[in-house]
Amino acid sequence: MLKTEEAAVVQVEHGINANLALRLALRKRTADAVLRIGVIAVVTITSVFLLFPVIVTVFMAFDARDYIGAFPPTSFSTQWFVQLAGSDFLWSAFKTSLLLATATTIASTTIGACAALAISWMTPKWSDLVTTAFLSPLVLPGVIIGFGLLMFLSVHDGLPVFAKLFAGHLIIALPFAVRLTLVGLAGISETLREAALSLGANEIQAFFTITLPLAKNGIAAGAVFGFATSMDDVTVSLFLSDFNTFTLPVALTSLIRSSFDLTIAAAAVALMSVTLLLLIVLDRVLGLERAIGRKT
């Protein structure tokens, strides 16, 4: 009698435990499912939100009307692309922009990565201060940087406009290089480098075998941001361009400010196509994963 009672109690206890474990597992599974659905919803909504304007832009680029009418367009034509292809004004601007962005990217990535490396070796107190200083161009409106540089550089009259633009773009691209290299470096465990050092590698060897390969993502991301920033900057370039040397966004802004012309939509579509092409080339030559993500 007693035994069976005990057995029953044990059984009940066992049942409770099993039930609890089951309930916990179930709860975990529902929680995971809810999270998964939530994430899928976020990804879907965000994708639609981000891509919708791209689709609208493509429609705008093929709009046959010569004004901004209600969406969607009533008839289509390629007139804006014809105008884009025939515009010397935009072509020369595009070439300047491309050259400028390339020069800016190379300079800002090199200088920024070096600085980030030095910062990563500092004590937190110092690194905070220095990082803040280097990020400051990000918080300054382009208007101040452009205007300040214009006043400052006009003292040196002989400077070519391209050099002035380069100076302006360098200062706005540099924070990305510094910040993103730092992010890349932050993930690297200090112990790896120390291990390499203790195994007899010198600082330089440790840098090239451990730090650089691991920080590559950050540096590459900084370069991508630098290039994009330089290609897209309006405000700083607006102040520093002159009438013989000007960037694509400045040329487009003149078009948009003087009379809204859908050539800019065509230009955007063309730019996106060029970017896609670049990415494909980058992927074939380097592997996109290696350029942006990490796959060592």
């Binding site: 999270l35 976020v42 990804v43 400051s136 918080v139 994009a228 802004t253 996109l288």
Partner: protein, 282 residues
């Protein structure tokens, strides 16, 4: 090569660039901000008298409101951007198929090359009061002409930059994580959500703060987005500065606003940076 010397050598080019191309010009702007302005002229006249009037003016409630509005909207956009970007970035970093990852990354980098001007006009055509979504708005009884709605559209415009940017910034941080940590936590019975909160998030603190600070600073200095999406009714600080510099040629006043904005923003990133460091240590 001593560590201290190499540190200095590595920092030198960046410091030189900053001193020459940022500090010196800003000092000129600072000087301009204390000059008296004579209406109808372009900028301050040579040898104009010194004054504090350009700063005193900013204490008027109307101007305090412009600052508050700019920082508030930029803050909202940054918080939302990080919240949305984190799971997306995580999915991209951890997806099984390399081609999905490649396609997503290409799309995001491609988005960053979408011209700012075109992007803003496209958003206007989508969310504007005569936009594609206007039937939806009237169905949901939203007044597309109200100030709240305009604020919402501006935040949407800011997000259109901030989300792809945050995704890319967080991507680097998440890639550097060891996926086995999460697996370990989950095999010990933690749910996906709690394991991410206790394991993934703390390890990505740097990245999250970075994404937030970059979004916030870009938001605060946004110019074209409020200029067009704000319909001229909601103004950001940059718009005020631009008007001073290029429409009315009152440089001294524009310079004063710029200086105040710069100081506020530097304080903000500095404190965020300190906060991130203290989070990391605990």
């Amino acid at each position: 090569m001593s560590a201290a010397r190499s540190k200095v050598l590595l920092l030198l080019p960046a410091v030189a660039v900053f001193a020459l191309l940022l500090v010196a010009p800003i000092l000129m702007v600072l000087d301009e901000s204390f000059r008296a302005f004579e209406p109808g002229r372009i900028g301050s006249v040579q040898g104009a008298s010194l004054t504090l009037a350009n700063y005193a003016e900013l204490l008027l409630p109307a101007y305090v409101q412009y600052f508050a509005q700019t920082y508030f909207l930029a803050f909202c956009a940054s918080v939302v951007a990080v919240f949305i970007a984190f799971p997306i970035s995580y999915c991209i970093a951890r997806t099984e198929s390399p081609s999905t990852r490649k396609a997503s990354l290409s799309a995001i980098v491609g988005l960053m090359f979408l011209s700012a001007l075109v992007r803003v006009y496209a958003l206007e055509l989508t969310f504007g009061s005569a936009g594609v979504l206007s039937p939806v708005m009237s169905f949901m009884n939203i007044n597309p002409n109200g100030r709240q709605y305009i604020n919402f559209v501006i935040v949407a415009g800011l997000l259109h930059y901030a989300i792809p940017m945050s995704i890319l910034i967080l991507f680097g941080a998440i890639q550097n994580l060891d996926p086995r940590l999460i697996e370990a936590a989950q095999s010990l019975g933690a749910s996906a959500l709690s394991s991410h909160i206790t394991v993934t998030l703390p390890l990505c603190t740097r990245g999250i703060f970075s994404a937030f600070v970059v979004s916030m600073t870009l938001g605060v200095s946004a110019f074209i987005i409020p200029w067009i999406l704000g319909r001229g009714r909601v103004l950001f600080i940059s718009n005020l500065i631009y008007t001073r510099f290029s429409e009315v040629a009152d440089y001294p006043s524009g310079a004063a606003i710029s200086i105040v904005m710069m100081v506020l923003s530097l304080l903000m990133i500095f404190s965020m940076s300190r906060l991130a460091t203290s989070f990391e240590r605990t």
